[in-house]
Assembly symmetry: C2
Homo-oligomer: 543 residues x 2
Amino acid sequence: MTEVFSVGEPKAIDLSHHLSVIARARRPSPLKDLQRFFGKPGIIAMGGGFPSPLYFPFASVSAEGLVPESFPLTPNQTASSSNSAFSWLWKILGVPTKEKTTPLTVNKYPDQKDDLNLATALQYGLAHGLPQLQKFIEDFGARVYKPASKDVVYLVHHGNTDGWFKILMTLCNPGEGLLVAEWTYPSAMACMKPLGIKPVPLPIDEQGISSVGLRKVLAEWDEDSQGMARPHVLYTVPIGQNPTGATMGPQRKKEIYEICVEFDVIIVEDDPYYFLQLGEYLPKAQRSTNSGRAVSDEEYLANLTATFLNFDYQGRVIRLDSLSKIIAPGSRLGWFTCNPLFAERLERQAETTTQAPCGFGQTMVTSLLLHWKFDGYVRWLRALGAQYTERRDFLIDCFADEFQLEAALEHSGAWKGNTVYRAFSGRGSEKFRIMTEKAHPGVPMFSFVIPTSGMYIWMQLHLNHHPAFPDEAPAALEMKLWEQLALAGVLFSPGWMFSAETEQEDPVGGGHFRISFSHVSYDAMKGAVVVFGTEVRKFWTQR
Amino acid sequence: MTEVFSVGEPKAIDLSHHLSVIARARRPSPLKDLQRFFGKPGIIAMGGGFPSPLYFPFASVSAEGLVPESFPLTPNQTASSSNSAFSWLWKILGVPTKEKTTPLTVNKYPDQKDDLNLATALQYGLAHGLPQLQKFIEDFGARVYKPASKDVVYLVHHGNTDGWFKILMTLCNPGEGLLVAEWTYPSAMACMKPLGIKPVPLPIDEQGISSVGLRKVLAEWDEDSQGMARPHVLYTVPIGQNPTGATMGPQRKKEIYEICVEFDVIIVEDDPYYFLQLGEYLPKAQRSTNSGRAVSDEEYLANLTATFLNFDYQGRVIRLDSLSKIIAPGSRLGWFTCNPLFAERLERQAETTTQAPCGFGQTMVTSLLLHWKFDGYVRWLRALGAQYTERRDFLIDCFADEFQLEAALEHSGAWKGNTVYRAFSGRGSEKFRIMTEKAHPGVPMFSFVIPTSGMYIWMQLHLNHHPAFPDEAPAALEMKLWEQLALAGVLFSPGWMFSAETEQEDPVGGGHFRISFSHVSYDAMKGAVVVFGTEVRKFWTQR
């Protein structure tokens, strides 16, 4: 962390009043009485409905795992590593045979007692998963996140979407309100609403949730007029906010944490993009291919922004870590970091629903992590961040090639203090460069702030400048452009999906696209922006 | 199926009134509008937060999968395959190097477009999982279960515990009652109770839930005195009932189905032990080592008992299939078979909670199944059934060696029409044989019916014959014996865990042990019964 903040006395407080009716009703583990005998040498356990590992039809599983050094440590190396102007495009498309790998194998029966093995990993297991994975996560969490609370528990889950659902069932009762950013991850809301939990939108700025806005909502809460008690849970994606791409700095986190202490709110920090911290964007001309300063792993870790755990001296943060963006979404693996009271209830819930995460997935991922070790994993994370930085830079470059982009420091409103890029059509298909701090006489078609973390550009469409406005509402125009673009072969995400205010059936938010630079090839990104340029210009002449 | 039953007109009826408040509130898939463009050739999809497969750190995964012929087709072959009286004990302990395997490999990038591949399997996917697995399940379901309804959907889930939880959230509201066997799977209840759903116990006999009992409960339901509406969901484990081991025959299923039609009840058939149909037990002397008649796969499948799907002409059955007992519990994989209305709601629920099952698990299991094909899978299932038959027979043999067992046809009560084995201590450590139809002058310590399916012996302890009775309640005596046995090195499951009537905190059911023959080695089973013999005799002299 770049700055050190003083936090309160690191001491967990009694938070049991936050537990939902459902969480309170969960019974203790039915295995409690039996557990003290488990693993006792010589014990013959014939209580459980375990199949014999003899009948697991896998003698071993193996993998070719990529080496931690698979990608360069600094961005914009992929492009510069060849003399030919476009050969890096081929390089990034990736020929699988060129991947440098090491073999990993896990047998059904272990050579050494504590070795990873399928006889254990494919058996019914406790909901907290394989001990080897547990150990890796605990070590990683302690070294990287440095929680302020002395009393934190790490508990695996089936990915952050599953983790969030379990938190809802643990903390919230039907009819309660829940604090969310006004634009937020749609699955998080799609999961709340059927449970009768109502999103309470909070204003956001370039750092995500506004602390001023949060305090205002909480301080002015009127139970009678709102028809519900003051919310006691806050959901946030603080890094690479989904969909806006905003990054919440340490000072903002500290402010929000202190407001949550004051109003007794639990913070759920859903942080899948934490290691996709991308740094500032520089226009192509100002960018050195060797811009990535070679720093040590220690410096890299110290430069990562603080998490809410860093400020959590009371144990009121539940952090969700996911391997979806680090290893693969299909690993369906992540973990909670939280106080022991919540962790125990979350584990009980897992026992009667999902149980432990898939044994094949745990085996493969754990095997790779044990091979990589802490240092290898950090090497992988650093390179991954550099890859996403390069992808973000490339996509912005495409927009700068396709449109006339005007960069201006915003002096008011939600994006105050940030550089906003406005895109103008003006001169047909002619290509323009970024024009800095120069007022443009026309009206912009869209604008965005360049994200410093995550996977997304959050594009604001200036549909109030569209010739059909106000006869056609921005929401209708958004979908019209979205469909025109889709028919032309490019899919962005329409903004209505992310609105905390509205339902799909009645979109009024309108006027945004979320554009991901995470996965398509560089030439596809380039192609998509060209198609978008053609279609948006065409769209802007229609009415 | 051994008998053919006429069923009603195969036509799904409107069952939408069964959906819970939560299921009704789920929004349609937010991807609906986008999906029609997915997979269109040439489309550039930049909406989703997918990482590039380039960054999945696995170039390939592999496994040594067991061949379908790994175990003999008929029981009691393991023991007879050696001349030495005890060498089969060593054989069954299993030396992993002796497992006959075939190599399976799945690469990140497919050679052929439709090949299984990690780029797809480890990506975010639709909640219904990999298409290759979906296809295998559909084909298997249609050929093996032959549903009476023309309109069934197969949908993957994360194992039956997860599946059951999703069903509860889909069909039940807090405060409702739910029909269950009076002894039932504890996790099924542990999952209901926090949701405010109350188990309504049904009397059981040797075939599980009594149809007479079910009709009585439903017909005599009085909303006012019960304080809740008549239950509209029935939960049953019809084969190898957990914990009692009972098997529900086709006639009983048909009776129950028709009562459920009459009273508009949805049947949830949780059937993890379906392929562990073990046949009748024969005492060792009467058993031929070649007793297993060589039948064709067609005969084998035709001899499997009918499922509720066979009678379900209205679409009111949700069947839960699990791979936990077939492949491995750690696969966390199974599937629903049900009507499209319920399936759609279940899939929506998965989208915002667990999402698709783990990609590593799906890949490994699908890869094995595609290699085995339908015929190989059936071969595996047949042999697995034979192995469990052999294990059941061996455990019963151990009891017959250790105790004086009296077998008698029951003429009344819950076990009417069944052979009940009563165990007597009588003459100290002397060993006795099964005594058929001969009244014993003493009092039995315990009794059981030999299960014809599943993994468990459900032992009734005759604690009313214990010298401490009635000063000490059966529930207290049950735990006293359980603890004494555990300290002597043998773990059975205490009966209170399975009672639908009681909570763990206040066990009054008492007087049962569930004993699993599924996983410990043959010598451990033998040893456990000897220890049990010593301890139960000792226990019976204490007061």
